[in-house]
């Protein structure tokens, strides 16, 4: 287990030295933090809305199976084909089956962390299908052959000049373009892909059980292109995204976009209910929805239930002192930051992600700003005990520290060791990586006021 803690230590130690990476992450994270702050403080009833959303989400979790079946039934009624996937590999296998069955050669895709979780791009590419990410951030990441490092701002770790170099190298853009030039270039490249694609793939920010509707939130209009141009569409949806009623959406969207990007509402909110009807010119002829579990049902039944309420806004990442210092890749998981440190061990295995619950100072800022009021620090504390079971040493240390006489003896020994430079103090070598050893201050203290105290 301590192997995973060492892994994160090595990854974080490397990341903190990467000045270029950290400058890029900070620049955007700080921008997102201040935009969120402005958007939330201009909303007088923010805390009330937050409390209502928490209540609504918790109630929805109580009826998660009903919501899943109702969504599936309504989506089917609207003409969609609904699939159920128990895990990530089943989800991507279903998608690959649909695409190859239709002879698809090229697909366009919106940003979807669920598809990252399912390894969908790799699975499609292995079957010879070209997948093009159409969200600008994801497009950058794909060109660079990297993974997203922030669930909302996937290319947060890259600065403008890196993107300009990348576009010039990989897509024949004029070198040294500014932001507007880069956007215009990406638009030109992507427009062609949109028109060619036989398949559009999307994730979902929400799905509505009442109507079988899939909701995606974007700022670039690429989502709308993916859901209207290609004749075939696949939606990959985590079952936690299903909300009971259409009426639940406004408040959720309001909290999501304010928390994610500080916008009262995103530029686009695309809602798809079934494929195009007869006589309709736009929209896919065929719509498949894959409902993926991948550990979510188990999570909802257990002590980390509220994690399923996560809106995936990414605010906890941008506000986290650890994330801000290392970026997302150091976490070694699809999901990073506080939400990722809870979600990764729960969904992808505690053994493989045992370092992440420790990668936190318990500063509590994430819980303070989480729009879904998820008790992230409490969950991280609890998970620590599960990924690293307290051993005999912890029990012995606790027994010593809880015994008044032994505690005072230990304090005395510690003071003596520190007075001579801190040799033999447990973990002092690690402490000294960043700090001088503490020097014990002089007494007298309160214990000396007590007859026999401190002795």
């Amino acid at each position: 287990m301590s192997g995973q803690v060492s892994r994160f230590r090595a990854a974080s130690a490397e990341a903190v030295l990467n000045e270029r990476l950290i400058a890029a992450v900070r620049h955007t994270a700080d921008l997102l933090v201040s935009k969120r702050e402005a958007a939330v403080s201009s909303m007088p009833d923010y805390e009330t809305a937050r409390a209502r959303v928490k209540k609504m989400r918790l109630e929805a979790l109580d009826h998660i199976e009903e919501n899943v079946s109702r969504f599936a039934a309504q989506a089917q009624k609207a003409g969609a084909v609904v699939h159920h996937a128990a895990d990530a590999s089943e989800a991507s296998a279903i998608a690959v089956g649909i695409a190859t069955g239709k002879g698809v050669r090229s697909a366009v895709k919106t940003k979807s962390m669920t598809s990252e979780e399912a390894g969908l791009n790799e699975a499609l590419e292995d079957s010879g299908i070209e997948v093009t990410e159409t969200d600008l951030g994801e497009f950058i990441i794909q060109l660079a052959g990297e993974k997203p490092s922030h669930i909302m701002a996937p290319a947060i770790h890259k600065n403008r000049s890196e993107v300009a170099d990348l576009f010039a190298r990989k897509t024949g853009a004029e070198p040294g373009l500014g932001v507007e030039g880069l956007v215009a270039h990406a638009r030109k490249v992507l427009r062609k892909k949109f028109l060619e694609a036989e398949l559009g793939i999307t994730g979902a920010n929400f799905a509505v059980a009442e109507t079988g509707t899939v909701v995606i939130v974007t700022n670039e209009g690429n989502g709308r292109m993916c859901t209207t141009l290609p004749p075939l569409q696949i939606v990959l949806l985590g079952i936690d995204k299903i909300v009971p009623e259409l009426a639940d959406l406004p408040e959720l969207l309001m909290l999501l976009t304010r928390s994610a990007s500080g916008q009262p509402i995103s530029s686009y909110v695309s809602m798809t209910t079934g494929p195009a009807l007869k006589g309709e010119e736009e929209g896919p002829r065929e719509l498949h929805i894959i409902l993926m579990d991948n550990g979510r049902r188990k999570m909802v039944r257990g002590p980390y239930r509220e994690m399923a309420n996560c809106l995936h806004c990414g605010a906890c990442l941008s506000h986290c002192p650890v994330y801000r210092a290392v970026g997302g890749h150091a976490y070694g998981s699809v999901y990073s930051g506080p939400m990722g440190s809870v979600l990764s061990p729960l969904l992808f295995g505690k053994k493989d992600h045992a370092g992440l619950p420790w990668a936190c100072t318990l500063c509590g800022r994430c819980a303070e700003i989480c729009p879904a009021s998820i008790p992230l620090p409490d969950y991280l504390r609890k998970l620590r005990g599960e990924v690293t079971e307290p051993g005999l040493k912890a029990g012995l240390a606790s027994r010593l520290a809880a015994n008044p006489a032994l505690y005072l003896l230990g304090i005395k020994m510690m003071r003596r060791l520190l007075a001579s430079g801190g040799r033999f103090v447990p973990l002092m070598e690690n402490w000294k990586v960043a700090r001088h050893p503490p020097q014990p201050g002089a007494g007298p203290g309160l214990r000396d006021r007590v007859p026999g105290g401190g002795k």
Binding site: A367, A402, A434, G445
Partner: protein, 249 residues
């Protein structure tokens, strides 16, 4: 009726800053509080509780209860220890309603030092410090988000230090200490600390006050390692004691 409070030192005071216990007792006594001290007090158990180890955590909670349950008030020299007693202890016993209720009752009588002075004693002002110098305030995360004390230390420091008090930029951000985090990920902890030290330097302060000595130990060690100019890192009680002593003439 005179108030009575039991002072809880914390491990940091015992191991590194014994005189701060006397400073705090002196301040409370000057403010008319009868200070009692239970010499059998040990560690609040936070290291175990924060490691997801409720079993060992309960041992410390029960010891704390046995030592302090009869007190009118418990005053703690750390926001993070006070937060542990108030918010973590009751949750450790949620399967035992009677015991949980006793912990809740005790939580209601447990205060962080400055919080007690502000909320219980209702102290609005402190006298001017006899030798004020440039000072800033590091608010620990558990002061902000555990006990939730905001704006109070700043007010007291302004009263004591006048225009010498300079607020710390980005004071809602973690200093990177995080208990075991500081030794599990020392490079990362040190990197987060660098920002805090840079912010401290930007204020021109020669003294940094806080309610949490563990953050200060981390920051002081970092400043020393960086060879930064000598800065005094103090618990607020020390400045209060000096101000009150100066007031006495």
């Amino acid at each position: 009726m005179a108030r009575r409070a039991a002072l809880f030192l914390t491990c940091a005071v015992d191991a590194l800053y014994p005189s701060v216990g006397l400073d705090a007792a002196g301040v409370l006594e000057r403010l008319g509080v009868e200070v009692v001290f239970r010499n059998e007090q040990t560690c609040c158990g936070q290291p175990w509780i924060n490691s997801g180890d409720p079993e060992n955590g309960r041992r410390h909670a029960l010891a704390f209860l046995a030592t302090h349950e009869k007190e009118e008030a418990v005053v703690m020299l750390s926001s993070s220890c006070a937060d542990t007693v108030r918010n973590a202890y009751p949750a450790l016993f949620d399967d035992d309603p009677a015991l949980c209720a006793r912990f809740r009752a005790l939580a209601g009588r447990t205060w962080e030092f400055c919080e007690y002075i502000h909320k219980v004693l209702g102290v609005e002002q402190f006298p001017a410090h006899p030798s004020p110098g440039p000072v800033t305030y590091h608010s620990s995360c558990r002061t902000l988000r555990g006990t939730g004390l905001r704006g109070v230390v700043e007010k007291y420091l302004e009263a004591m230090m006048g225009a010498h008090f300079v607020p710390l930029p980005e004071n809602d951000r973690c200093c990177g200490f995080g208990g075991s985090f500081s030794v599990k990920f020392p490079e990362l902890s040190g990197r987060i600390m660098e920002d805090k030290l840079r912010n401290i330097a930007s204020t021109g302060a020669r003294t940094v006050a806080s309610l949490d000595l563990s953050c200060l130990t981390h920051l002081k060690g970092g400043a020393q390692k960086k060879g930064s100019p000598e800065i005094r890192f103090v618990h607020l009680a020390e400045l209060m004691r000096e101000a009150l002593a100066g007031d006495a003439g």
